[in-house]
């Protein structure tokens, strides 16, 4: 078996402040294999976007990053900025939630696409323009020549996000990081972009790290997912296993708390309390103040991550469902 494309080990990201230090990421272990679409789910402040930015060496100051991120065999954490800059676009490219803010309003889409491609792939402008046109048709923009001449404000949000995907793909990165790329889009346009990403991943064997707070989007796109809460991964496994039989009470309750089409008019399971403040996260398991199964041990020690032979991982003192059986050495389903 070849090495995984991305291996994150014990990633810790702190933002020291005058009074308090914000602990954005508190020990993340994550592996993304070549050719898979991996989901990273979490609420605001869970550390999912910081984890993604760290993969590109883009954690803003005064953030302190420790641990290890190996991307295609190269270490990102602690590497000189010049090296990380060379890797961006080529090794890993990123698309963001708001494509309108990711592009410069003063230049045409074409100018920005061609600049990026010429720079990353060391091409002359004519070759870069051809690559840009190809990339725009690959993301199913009907008239690439027209799109190249437009300014960002002249096209819709869905078209802009397609252009961003085109820009990322034209640089031929090994890893595509997508940070909530469909959140700002309308429902029907979101569906188009999800299907586009799914098809591109399949056709090109693209490796994708897809970050979102929307469980439904994960369900229709990702092979595997990791659930983050308060700077840690609490559960990780294949999408079918995790949605079918969640083992962490946070995931299990979240799945019942979110309205899902087809369930009819039902009372939603309520998760009490609120997302923790990361300058002062709860001790032990950060979810314990909101958890129905919490006991004394949960407030005293952080639960270790238990991984079963299939690779399913959960960090909970009292896991529920199938993994509880696996936990005690019983047969796995």
């Amino acid at each position: 078996m070849t090495d995984p494309l991305l291996t994150i080990r014990n990633l810790v990201i702190d933002f020291p402040g005058l009074e308090r230090t914000v602990q954005a990421v508190r020990g993340v272990d994550l592996v993304v294999e070549r050719g898979e679409v991996m989901g990273l789910v979490g609420e605001s402040g869970s550390g999912k976007s910081m984890t993604a930015l760290a993969c590109l060496g883009l954690v803003p100051p005064p953030g302190r990053v420790t641990g290890s991120i190996r991307l295609a065999g190269e270490e990102i954490v602690g590497a000189p900025e010049a090296e990380n800059e060379r890797r961006r676009g080529k090794m890993a490219a990123m698309i963001f939630q708001n494509p309108g803010k990711a592009l410069n309003p003063f230049f045409t889409i074409g100018r920005q696409l061609i600049d990026a491609i010429a720079n990353v792939r060391r091409m002359d402008r004519a070759a870069a323009e051809r690559a840009a046109r190809e990339a725009l048709s690959a993301v199913r923009i009907a008239d690439p020549d027209m799109a190249l001449q437009k300014y960002p404000h002249q096209v819709s949000g869905g078209q802009l996000q397609r252009a961003m995907i085109a820009m990322a793909l034209a640089c031929e990165p090994k890893l595509l990081i997508a940070d909530e790329p469909t959140t700002a889009l309308d429902v029907t346009i979101q569906a188009q972009v999800i299907v586009l990403l799914r098809d591109l991943a399949r056709e090109r064997g693209l490796t994708v790290l897809f970050i979102t707070h929307d469980l439904g989007v994960i369900g229709s796109l990702c092979d595997r997912l990791a659930v983050m809460y308060a700077g840690r991964i609490v559960e990780q496994g294949t999408t079918d296993a995790l949605f079918g039989h969640p083992s962490h009470p946070y995931t299990a309750n979240l799945l019942k708390a979110v309205p899902m089409l087809g369930r009819g008019r039902v009372a939603l399971t309520q998760i009490p309390g609120t997302v923790p403040n990361m300058s002062n996260p709860p001790p032990g398991c950060a979810f314990h103040p909101r958890c129905p199964s919490a006991t004394t041990v949960c407030s005293q020690s952080a639960p270790p991550t238990v991984i079963d032979p299939s690779g399913y991982a959960v960090a909970c003192h009292h896991p529920i469902g199938i993994l509880a059986v696996r936990h005690s050495g019983g047969p796995a389903a």
């Binding site: 609420e43 605001s44 819709s156 869905g158 078209q159 309308d186 429902v187 029907t188 346009i189 979101q190 569906a191 188009q192 999800i194 299907v195 707070h213 929307d214 469980l215 439904g216 989007v217 994960i218 369900g219 229709s220 796109l221 999408t239 079918d240 949605f243 079918g244 946070y250 309750n253 979240l254 799945l255 708390a257 979110v258 309205p259 899902m260 089409l261 087809g262 369930r263 009819g264 008019r265 039902v266 009372a267 939603l268 399971t269 309520q270 998760i271 009490p272 609120t274 997302v275 909101r290």
Partner: protein
Amino acid sequence: MTALLTVEDLTKRFRTRHGTVKAVDGVSFEVERGETVALVGESGCGKTTVALSLLRLIDADGGRVLFEGADLASAGAQAWRQRLSIVFQNPYSSLDPRMRIREIVGEPLVTAYGLSGKALSERVVRHMSEVGLGPEHLKRFPHEFSGGQRQRIAIARAIALEPKLLILDEPTAALDVSVQAQVLNLLQDLQKRLGLSYLFISHNLATVESVADKVLIMYLGRVVERGPVADVFASPRHPYTQALLDSVPSIDPSHRGRLRPVMGELPSTLNPPAGCAFAPRCARSGGECRFSPPPLTADGVDRAHACLHPLG
């Protein structure tokens, strides 16, 4: 008995430098006592313009709005807003950061009734407790609260004048996923206890299904389908309703890969198609769809659709 709220042929145009936008084009519906009517559509469909017209935060160009049979135009704005109120999407921008919670929730009571002193603080405490917040919060400022708590405060302010109808404009869209259920359940609970009616504006069909009795689907300023939520979602008649339902990603493994997005994008509101606005994206459309917008036609109990080639 007359409906609580009757909207007849509501129309709103915005004149811009580039032309006139028909944001709302002949929208009619009713809201009965104690029921939740959802107004669903994508950006630019006019759902928020409907809400703002009902509150008279903008003036409609045409149509009538009746509250318990009485015309909106004859009532003063003040009296009107005692009957219906609104909770906005983003509690980070809808609460004044310089006001204490006591002032935020008390302001409508001061303006409408001139309450002060003990009478005022008693009312504020009552409305705070109705949304599950204790009196210890009264002296705090909005920044000291989480998003879910801020939305509770916004709800307390909205019910302070004891309105009969609340307009909820995407009330959970800006909240963390794990907190949305708290607010949705609170709203359902308040509805039962206070006998409120809701006009629930949303683009999230799953949320609509979990809270609403009836649904109106809007596209480019017009209602294209309406009916009881369960019926409309189970057997949509308008192809746009079907397209919306097919666009909702699901966590259900058996639904994976079943996302069937409709082609194309919303047409420009400055230059909408002559006929059915959805026709350019619609697989069922024919030449006759391109002449004039199809009227909303009744079809079964409480249901109507505006389509020449309905499904089902």
